[in-house]
Amino acid sequence: MDVKDLKTYFYLDDQKVARAVDDVDLTVNAGETVALVGESGSGKSITSLSIMQLINKPGKIVDGTISLLGQNLLNLSDKQMTKVRGNDVAMIFQEPMTALNPVYTIGNQISEVLRKHKKMNKKQARRRAIELLKMVGFPRAEDTFDEYPHQLSGGMRQRAMIAIAISCEPKLLIADEPTTALDVTIQAQIIDLMNEMKEKLDMALLLITHDLGVVAEYADRVLVMYGGQIVEEAPKKRLFKESKHPYTSGLMESLPSIYKEEERLGTIRGTVPPAHSFPKGCRFSSRCPHAMDQCFESNPDLIQLDHEHSVRCYLYTDE
């Protein structure tokens, strides 16, 4: 999947425009796990919802292309798009407690996807749904099929969500902070499960997270997002070893290290500025420890350092 120049803006009541996603380029290749990292409000979730075209008013995808296997999804009609969602691209959300419809059984909610996209009849869908439930680790899958979401724990509900998401063997799975709301011990299980499913079904995985531990463990490539833009892109190992952007470095410093004893972890001062009033220059300039005059003047472009590493910062321009 290839996302180019994606712009999703929110038109707020008071004439302000929140540029929640501004010129994002993003590529996820088959079988690859790409992590999209950034703190709250950086535009990660809006990026993923834009890919699914699930942006609600007052938000709007203003510009860009989202191509999946050569087809631009933004050119599809609403009806055609419903054939892509859940079928070619599937998504898992952050909050498993509320992401399932409380009045229908787990089985019903898996079957309806199969019946819609794979045109299965009730019996086939039931058989396949039970298979899927077994795959994602429900020991009593037949019983679980007839259970309601409130009878399952958070971790189990997230497993059910994964079963729904992989039911049609999508080419791309988007996971929007799938473990944030879960217990630490469950988090690892869920991520492991997603990774296992990814391998098994040869999907591409776009993992949206702010957990750098998860990134270190599973991602192939990392994109760091700040203020609605990609500020750094690199393969995982290089990002952790030689991060370039001051923001990325700040994130790294906020991680505890097992090699040195630290009194206090590093922090990044301040918070992400609201998307309707970014500073005039570089969007990170107001919080950047290395900000120069130039940084307050204009926003830098994404600079290619080499074929796999790029960064949006004036510290790395040649001039």
């Binding site: 859940g86 959300f93 992401a99 419809n101 009045v103 819609k116 309601y148 729904i164």
Partner: protein, 320 residues
Amino acid sequence: MYKYIIRRILIFIPMLFALSVVVFALSKAAPGDPFTTMLDPNIDRSVFEERKEALGLNDPIPVQYFRWVSSAVQGDFGESIVYNQRPVMDLIKVRFWNTIYLGIVALFFTLIVAIPIGIYSARNPYSLLDYGATGFSFLGLAIPNFFFGLLAIYFLSIQFGWFPAQGTVSGTDVSGLEEFIDRIHHMILPGITLGLAGTATYMRYMRSEVLDVLGSDYIRTAKAKGMSDRNVLYKHTLRNALIPIITLMGFEFGVLIGGAVITEQVFNYPGLGTLFLDAIINRDYPIVMALALIFGIFILVGNLLADIFYSVVDPRIRYD
């Protein structure tokens, strides 16, 4: 599920008992007795005392209560004092179904108007029709029943002559299908009048519920699964949005009967409401007590139905 329903029905029994005590106590606490309105100065006071003694009105209160309850459970509410000593049950039987039908027409009108408009308003918030519906709701809630009834009679019945202004049938010479249509025709105006406030309330509820559900995570999940708009609305949204509406409908049952007291009077409609009002004015206590008990049972049954229906729609409360 069945255990739940059985338990709810069992709770019904003590509530019914409490209700009968309250009804009896209130009628005893009310000043005067059936003879207050018939006092003839030419008759000696001792005659009234004798009659009271004969009717058991001087017995201890608990004795009177048990006498009343034990015959009431057998369907015998005594005899009307004003209506030539006819059994109360007969008087009620004649009018009971009229009121029930009127309630059904009112509820039907409420639901077919309020639910679709509420859904439309939620899907197109701040549209012209949404503002219109909001305006209508406030008007519907603000206009008293009897006033709307009078307006309806004046315009739709007297000025335009579209609907009859009173009664339940045009005459005795109609029968079969013709009679059915005629009865419906008679019920439309009182039905709309009775259902007006409910329509306004339900519309508001429906709008806010659907709006709420449409913004929920599981609707986003349904959309992310590629479900069509129709499916998202009818399958995933509606069932969740209707849960609070069902609770409301339990109360509506009682509200409709209560509202019928006034509406029936305005349309001179021979139902329980008219009977109730007449009985109160005439201090016809056997009728008042019987009807108060019946109205109370309506509310209890309404809530029971709502609870049962609720547990059918929402699996989360099935195993409580």
